[in-house]
Symmetry: C2
């Protein structure tokens, strides 16, 4: 993330108010840093916001198999503006006591003006990107892997091994699949070439069910992309699903899990996966993190009508 | 807040994990500070958590006019444990550009082991209690006014004027009202004497509708206590209600606004006030803060079934 980006998002937004502040007044302008910690058994989990993107006109094109009026009604029910859909980006770090795992890497400040805060918030949380041990990737869309490298194509994670789903790697490294990929996603092949290039010597493919460390497993969650993978963390009776993009914002895609998000490569498969994994989380009262859920993006799942509701976990100062 | 309390809530909870951490591993243990900022027009608003209290057996006695089975069902629907009801305490600060207003004062670390973080979180947010200009009080229950003074009865707010609702002051400073006060709340008379004592020379009574500063008004919200008062902040088309205890946790008392909370002095009046003010917030899409809503405790109100739903505002790094 560049200083320019940091300046855009924090310093300059506060400046207009600062300039009108009386000299003697308190000047408490900064937002709280964007990280949140909780435990899952012996694991210490931290969610970190990279910022968000705003999608204009979400009633048109965002849901490919629903009428604009139906989408508009859902957005209104959720008090989401029908003119601009806020799409948050939330990265997860899991400390095992031995290793520090990071799940997905954010936008690297290279995709839009309202994201790119990951490194700033990581440092506020006490994490040095150079000391992350393992970076696991749910899937290869640009908002998940651009943060692997700088604008100048240098690796951000100096020592991390990079763990990628085998099926995801197979798809996006074979350009023969381009014609079977939605046209608007074909740029992903180039993004994958570019962002993984400096990690080739320390990149490992992982299979469905692979144990990344004791208590951390890959769970096939195909559909959003051909190899999209969730991660399951468990210790004793406590468990967490890092859901990646099994659902975009819960107010829309958990409420109607059969709706297909415009970036789902295989809509019906994505919906089946969504219902299976969120159904399991609901039945087992497992904690979940969604990459595009509102920060701090962790909570529980309740069945609701024909779909689900996301119930944010209570914020706690004690970890 | 004592050092002992701070230690209990932050340092010691992290210690068991720290001690098992390898020497070379990252040690990123602290929770993010418990404050959150947003703007309402020209006003800069900060919510700050003081911590929470846990109520055991919430199905019995917490709601005075509903059967335990009905309460249990609501708690289960909301994924709230039926064995322990987490009751958060969230204080609000509003900076006008001229003055810094604080609304309610937390527990001062003197009521239970899981609260008392207000001063620590205020300082993390850049606020010095000694420089608060005005402290406005919604009502006189101990979790709202104990933070006015230390255990040694010294004032925490060295220079603040203290603004109290006239009707609240009239009730709780006249012990003749004791027999008309629920027995379990009669201790409040003594709490009021003790906590306001050092502020007598700078205490001001405010009437319903009083303008505390341009754009900040008192709104009578009687029922929870005889003089319970909300505050309305507005600038242009943006508005915020600081609701105090118009409702305890929204999952229960917004869902069924006719339920009476055990600490409502006048249950039917509290319910009427709840429906009137949250109804207005819903109709006008006003932002609200609830003192006992889960931190960061700010969002919007949607009508839902026979009551309301609370919709948390999206977290934003940009203020």
């Amino acid at each position: 993330m560049s200083l320019q980006r940091r300046s855009l998002l924090t310093t300059t937004v506060a400046a207009p108010l600062l300039s009108s502040w009386p000299a003697g007044a308190q000047q408490a302008q900064a937002q709280a840093p964007g990280f949140y910690r909780f435990r899952v058994g012996r694991f210490l989990v931290t969610t970190i916001t990279d910022g968000q993107a705003m999608r204009a006109n979400p009633t048109r094109g965002m849901v490919v198999n629903a009428e604009p009026a139906a989408v508009e009604q859902v957005l209104k029910d959720a008090l989401i503006p029908v003119t601009g859909f806020n799409n948050p980006f939330v990265v997860t770090i899991v400390e095992t006591g031995q290793d520090t795992f990071m799940f997905d890497t954010g936008t690297g400040g290279q995709l839009n003006d309202t994201a790119g805060l990951l490194q700033q918030n990581m440092r506020a949380a006490g994490f040095d990107p150079g000391r992350i041990d393992k970076v696991a990737i749910t899937h290869f869309h640009a908002d998940h892997i651009t943060g692997l490298t700088t604008r100048e194509d240098q690796p951000v994670f100096a020592k991390a091994e990079v763990l990628v789903p085998e099926a995801e790697w197979a798809w996006w490294t074979d350009e023969g699949n381009a014609t079977r990929t939605p046209e608007m996603q074909r740029g992903t092949f180039g993004v994958v070439r570019r962002r993984f290039a400096p990690y080739k010597s320390r990149l490992h493919q992982i299979k469905d069910g692979a144990e990344l460390a004791p208590g951390i497993r890959a769970v096939a969650a195909y559909g959003h992309t051909p190899g999209h993978t969730a991660f399951h963390i468990s210790d004793g009776d406590q468990q967490l699903f890092i859901m990646g993009d099994c659902a975009n914002r819960p107010e829309v895609f958990l409420r109607y899990p059969d709706w297909h998000f415009v970036f789902d490569v295989d809509g019906p498969m994505a919906s089946a996966t969504r219902k299976r994994l969120f159904g399991r989380a609901a039945d087992e009262r497992a904690r979940v993190i969604g990459y595009h859920f509102p920060f701090p993006a962790n909570g529980y799942i309740a069945r609701w009508s024909e779909g689900f509701r996301f119930v944010p976990a209570d914020w706690s100062s004690a970890i």
